[in-house]
Amino acid sequence: MPNHSIPFRTIQEVHSAFESQKLSPVELTQEYLAAAKKSQLGAYLTLCDDLALQQARAAESLIQKFGRVPREEYPLLGIPMGIKDNLVMDGVRTTCASKMLENYVAPYTATCVSRLEKAGAVTLGKLNLDEFAMGGSNENSAFGPVRHPTHPDRVPGGSSGGSAASVKADLCFASLGSDTGGSIRLPASYCGVVGLKPTYGRISRLGLVAFASSLDQVGPFAKTVEDAALLMDVMSGHDPQDSTSIPQGRLNSFATTRTAPSWSQLRVGVPKEYFVGGLAPAVERSIQNSLNWFQKQGAELVPISLPHTQYAVSVYYVVAVSEASSNLARYDGIRFGMRPAGSEQAKDLNDFYRKSRSLFGPEVKRRIILGTFALSSGYSEAYFHRACQVRRKIVGDFTEAFTKVDLIIGPVAPTTAFKLGEKSSDPLTMYLNDIFTIPANLAGLPALSVPCGADEEGLPIGLHLMAAPFQEDRLISAAHAFQNGFELGKV
């Protein structure tokens, strides 16, 4: 462990240490807070020392009272977590890594975070991201980039860069991120941790600051698939305060990690469109080795086709920016946000809006303009409407594929983590990096990234698993077996 001496891999191991009194929740929380303060990665935007220590003390008294960790009611008791700074917490600053919300203090707590707190988790602080979750490298934060946890000249991936880097660098035990076009899976792949994007609607979006409402989903980062499963169990379940929350009850995914998958009944789809060149050789070898491992366990590898894959990035960058331009219209400087100098002298209301909205960073402005264009009179038919039609074709590809296979496996990204500044001047190149992650958001599928290798420089590579809507258990069970059985090494 790089910063301190926490030898634990899973939440279960931490709980055993609590019970054998090798460690107390307060000590653990203090260690993480100290490490977070010392760190140069730029992963945290706000630390909640007082709140975290108060939660840790409460966990400590529960353990004393019961003489053990009451796991049934408090499955996350005393576990220090980081929260992406686009999820609100009552009384805590939520910035979305934007100057626009630099001093914004939320009046309530996101449902997913309050469920973690109710399960006993300790919330250490708020994690850095691309401004309003728009980006794939975490270079778009108004408060400085996050650095890659093991290769500081590289990006950690984005937009949940702080969430991935902090888990890898032991600045929190697990974390929350959000995924609109790959913002959980890409940084998980680049940083070598597990990141899961649930089925759309599985986790409440109440308290997630909206970017693109038909694509956004909250999900967990952890070192292991089993911990990610436990977090899913805690956060899932219908929330009447989110009208897109699915009516299903809580998941019981952790339990599925306790039994081996029935390999002979598992059909793994390998889409030909995901292997058409452009993959870095180390990435291609790692994915191939992983596929061979699944076959060796007895799974059947089935070649499939997702013929509309080539249109996914186009659909995404019309739909996502259109929804964003609408969602971000609320930042007008009237009820919250900052009023920059000069806005008091505005000559009319529109001038006031323009002055207030000058606080957005360049990527956010670019997307608002693109989205406003795609929705504007005379262009919306050719762009927004058509993108929504092609979106249905992409969903159709998956519906068809999932009649033949149970899982789809491929790469998360074409390469490993790139260098800071390498792609930031060319938005289109940056957008094309999302080609393998975007389709799951367009179709609302659950998908995850699990480490499957490293390149010559030791940069991690993630394996991408996707399942049909609501099939998180299938995803988790296969990924857990893979993480415990596959020999990780350089290829």
Partner: protein
């Protein structure tokens, strides 16, 4: 194919209530033109008789009970909704005289 020139960028920025510098207008026009050229490939897909899809998981809309809740208040007894207001006057949002 749309010609994304500086005048179109200005027009769209005005609709979006964004103030752009001359420099930004130039950079954005160039970048938007590239992006729009790329998404132009959507035009080659046969979408005849395809209904647009705007929501990935089709579920019925759940309506909440129409019950009023009192706005939560902070420690000082003021409504929390005002705690991040740029300016407050009594129990309301204060705005500059711009109308």
């Amino acid at each position: 194919m749309v010609d994304v020139n500086e005048s179109l960028t200005r027009q769209v920025a005005a609709l979006a209530r964004l103030e752009l510098s001359e420099n930004e207008i130039q950079t954005f026009s160039h970048q938007l033109s590239q992006i729009i050229q790329y998404v132009e490939k959507l035009q080659e897909v046969d979408v005849s008789a395809v209904e647009p899809l705007s929501h990935p998981i089709e579920i019925p809309t759940f309506l909440r009970a129409d019950v009023a809740h009192v706005s939560p208040t902070a420690g000082d007894g003021k409504p929390k909704v005002l705690q991040s207001a740029p300016e407050v006057l009594y129990d309301g949002f204060k705005v500059p005289p711009i109308l």
